[in-house]
């Protein structure tokens, strides 16, 4: 099984690193800052030197085929005998008893007490974990006990502020939507007005253009007039010349008087 395989790896890690325990004082010091201010050092024993600084179980402990934490606690005992860890108060809250498996020799682990002092550098992640407020689990009941206190969570939650917040958000959304809608309506009005104006302007312009066309046509007659005047003038001159020549062809007695053009 996958979980047992991984714990086997972890146990081999542990036996190798158990001998280096006293040298890793910094690790041990770090571990002791995990301790809750209220509850003693519950968890330091759970750590494994394979992953210093972590108190969570290994990666594949919670497999689907096992209850959680069984193989984790069964295959990884704290030490050879509980007597060795009496320096810190051990509060085991596990329901399943731990088995003591015999390793090669009697590896006695002596653990230093928790390091205190103001100049201790605390792990920032662990400080953040400690600052998480207490919260209730989702499922209040165990598997066998029916949940008699389920609505307790809802009773503790005061709905009034949440309701106020939601109502405020709702009104805010409505106000924003109304604002946007009024602006859009104004824009629509302006577009309509602009379209009307353009329509009026274009009708006026077409009227003007028609009138101008008529005027231009009329005025263009002036050019025709001048053409015709020119022709008239030329014809008149020709007529006068031809009259002169005709007059000169006549005998002197029959000649008329020279033609003078007088305006009436």
């Amino acid at each position: 099984m996958g979980s047992e395989h991984s714990t086997h790896v972890h146990s081999s890690h542990r036996t190798a690193s158990l001998n280096h325990d006293p040298k890793q004082s910094s690790n041990i010091r770090r571990q002791h800052t995990i301790a809750n201010p209220g509850g003693g050092a519950d968890h330091p024993e759970l750590y494994d030197n394979g992953r210093p600084g972590s108190i969570s179980p290994g990666p594949s402990v919670c497999s689907d085929t096992d209850l959680p934490y069984i193989s984790y606690t069964v295959n990884r005992p704290i030490g050879d005998s509980p007597k060795l860890t009496n320096r810190q108060i051990v509060k085991t809250k596990r329901k399943i008893p731990t088995k003591q498996t015999k390793k090669s020799a009697h590896n006695i682990v002596v653990v230093k007490p928790a390091a205190t002092g103001p100049n201790l550098d605390r792990d920032p992640d662990i400080m953040r974990l400690q600052s998480i407020p207490m919260f209730l689990p989702i499922m209040r009941a165990t598997l066998n006990l029916p949940a008699a206190r389920d609505p307790e969570v809802l009773e503790r939650l005061d709905p009034a502020p949440l309701h106020k917040l939601c109502v405020k958000y709702q009104t805010h959304l409505t106000a924003c939507a109304n604002f946007v809608a009024t602006e859009q309506n104004q824009l629509t009005q302006k577009v309509r007005e602009t379209d009307n104006e353009i329509g009026k302007i274009i009708s006026a312009a077409t009227d003007k253009q028609k009138k101008f066309a008529k005027y231009a046509e009329k005025l263009a007659k002036v050019q025709e007039l001048s053409h015709q005047l020119n022709r008239c003038h030329m014809l008149l001159n020709q007529t006068l010349e031809s009259m002169e020549t005709l007059n000169n062809y006549l005998d002197i007695e029959d000649r008329l008087e020279p033609f003078v053009w007088t305006t009436g």
Binding site: A177, Q184, L187, R192, N230
Partner: protein, 105 residues
């Protein structure tokens, strides 16, 4: 571990997982219904949809305006031509007057 206890443990575990999943589902459903109430209650989407639809109607008007403006541009050019021709004709009137005077002599 005896196989019997492991099977019972397995069933317990699946049972607890199912119950946890149910509780989580209830919570998620509640939150989603709250969110839906907020969005529906504010009617923001309806209002915005109305305004968007009204604005879309103006599209036709705007096309109208654009075509009218283009026609107006052409009209302007025509008017310019007519103005030029009228100016020329007006100037020719002067010449014609002189011609008439010359003819009268």
């Amino acid at each position: 571990m005896a196989s019997a206890s492991s099977t019972s443990a397995r069933s317990l575990f699946t049972d607890s997982k199912m119950r946890l999943a149910d509780r989580v589902q209830v919570n998620v459903n509640n939150i989603s219904s709250l969110a839906r109430q907020i969005t529906r209650g504010s009617k923001s989407s309806e209002i915005l949809m109305h305004s968007a639809r009204n604005f879309a109607v103006q599209e036709h008007l705007m096309e109208n305006s654009e075509s009218n403006l283009k026609k107006m541009q052409l009209l302007c050019v025509h008017l310019g031509y007519q103005h030029d021709s009228m100016l020329k004709s007006a100037q020719q009137i002067e010449e014609v007057k002189e011609q008439v005077c010359a003819m009268q002599r």
